[in-house]
Symmetry: C2
Subunit: 362 residues, 2 copies
């Protein structure tokens, strides 16, 4: 009978081996309210919690919006070594936003509406109050992108992570009507690429950014180099990745029948040269007008303090362009008006030309 209490003095428990089940359960209880505020009417609250359940279609007559031929879309991503800045400065409340942003911004590139999100969090040592801060960020990112935070896993792995270190992975699922999938195939010569501004580094290139700003230039979190115009290096490096879901969804909803938006790209690792060719058909490229926007200060600082070659800068960082929409020329003005209404800074980045796969510069 295993339930007989026969405690041995030398006997070892799971907690002594480094894993605290009770602390884990306490944390799950604490993050509950944070998670529940992201629940939409489509989340089913089921017993047990082995899995998260999400109704694909609204049942309410009023909200009915059934998909005829639904295609599920899924993405996964992490935040990379931006986490190191958050850990070293003990500011953990924004990397969760980055985590959500990195996946949902990819999701919307095919025209999908984000539905739900799950997170995996691996830590050296479970510290409930630190986990709460992280999950708070995740839930804020979910609210901003209309995603339910449907599930998550927290793993305590003292052999892999230093006590205060952690890593995280995000998974997003969305849905798109099959004949509304945006796959770039309808792109034509003369279509126009609209840039939407980034909010700085977002979540890419931190290996290089940290090496240059922290190791070579020896800036501290609170350093205010003249080139940043009064901003702190640390705050600039921790600014959350912008979530483009609402702005892009507004544009897509405006044109339910016409195929106005031909292609979209989330500008991540690889920059414009790496990400634009991925969404264009063979034989087409974009001629990017480099003078159409001013490089934000943080990138100028990195280029100067590296120094980092301008080609390398463009290949590693977004350089101020966080998202690109390729649209039919007749709709450029109305799409830009819609983006502006959604508080996005946007401009004409360039035009679709014959050529490629490399992008062209003008």
């Amino acid at each position: 009978m295993p339930m007989a209490k026969k405690k041995q003095s030398r006997s070892i428990t799971y907690k002594q081996a480094g894993v605290d089940i009770d602390a884990g359960e306490e944390m799950v209880r604490q993050i509950g309210p944070m998670v529940k505020r992201t629940y939409t009417p489509r989340v089913l609250d089921e017993l047990g919690g082995f899995a998260g359940l999400f109704s694909l279609d609204f049942r309410e007559k009023l909200l009915k919006r059934n998909y005829k031929d639904p295609v599920l879309v899924a993405c996964t991503d992490g935040v990379g070594t931006k986490l190191k800045i958050a850990i070293d400065s003990d500011r953990l409340d924004s990397v969760g936003i980055d985590l959500v942003a990195m996946s949902v911004n990819d999701l919307i590139c095919v025209g999908a509406e984000p539905l739900f999100f799950l997170d995996y969090l691996a830590v050296g040592k479970l510290a409930p109050e630190r986990m709460l801060q992280i999950v708070k960020g995740v839930s804020e990112g979910c609210l901003e992108s209309n995603c339910a935070l449907l599930g998550g896993e927290t793993a305590e792995m003292p052999d892999f992570y230093k006590p205060r270190d952690f890593d995280m992975a995000g998974f997003a699922v969305g849905v798109v009507e099959r004949d509304r999938i945006i796959n770039g195939k309808k792109t034509e010569v003369g279509d126009v690429a609209i840039a939407i501004a980034s909010d700085g580094l977002h979540s890419n290139g931190y290996g290089l950014a940290r090496r240059v700003l922290l190791d070579r230039a020896r800036y501290k979190f609170t350093s205010k180099p003249p080139l940043l115009g009064g901003a702190m290096v640390g705050e600039e490096m921790l600014k959350p990745t912008k979530i483009y879901v609402n702005a892009v969804m507004n544009v897509l909803k405006k044109y339910r029948v016409k195929h106005v938006v031909k292609a979209m790209a989330h500008i991540t690792g690889g920059g414009l040269p790496g990400n634009l060719p991925r969404v264009l058909p063979d034989g087409l490229t974009i001629r990017v007008k480099r003078s159409s926007w001013e490089t934000p200060d943080i990138f100028k600082l990195i280029a100067a303090k590296g120094p980092v070659d301008s080609i390398e800068m463009m290949r590693v960082f977004n350089m101020g362009v966080g998202f690109v929409m390729v649209v039919a020329p007749a709709f450029v003005k109305s799409v830009m008006a819609e983006l502006t209404k959604a508080s996005q800074k946007c401009w004409v980045l360039g035009k679709v030309k014959k050529g490629g796969p490399e992008i062209q510069w003008a």
Copy 2:
């Protein structure tokens, strides 16, 4: 013009900062065939690769199986410190199976059919041939659970992981018809719990198992302690988690109208005492007949070498029971016949009684 080549001698590149974009792209090319063999006809091969696309319904008339009121189900999990055994022994081809198993075995607990899987892999140093081994395991797990490996992310994070260390997270999505969701609510007194055998430790309790077997008892990978009857400690500790998808799906498909299966539990961290109460309604419990099965040798070895208290053993490990199905008494024989046909060792574990939430022992 950023494309002008003006190489500076002191200038620093992303590669020098520790991130090799080309090695990453090479790896993506290499794992392609491994991933594609998991593709079902429902995977859409779209340009770009920002996101994975999966058609919810078969379009082919012959295969038509449209969901009337589809509920999506999602799970995420990792493998935990079992990874350490794989890394230290340089046997990386099975932990991918564990990764898939941990999520899909949770997914099927609500009656969902697994659709697709995504993996996140974070490494200290990108070594394509090691990554290939890992992804090979993931793709095998996917094939075994009828999941398409729809996407993934590999992050190189030298600041977080030692060069040969890595962590991984898995994410599975499935679908269930709303009125076929298994949530435990129909469970009644007299229903019968059927146990399906585990294949050893699966992916839980490694913090304690490693402490006891490797630190205290000082076993090597190749040690063959008498209690294991000729088996190597390392091989026993690396045995992949059993995937219960096909066995359980066969049972569910057999009873498309009747509600035969009332509740299901994947026995993970927390063991039987932690996982059975999660799937039962308030006021009901299961009286588990401890003598109904023999504890596998690996658990006896851990209990002896710790020593670990029998209560603690039961709370940390699956103790030989990997999955539990609670079924109506009239169908016990036919469900067990179906499981046996699917090559699963199974037995009557106990009966549903009034009480709880703690399980009872007989």
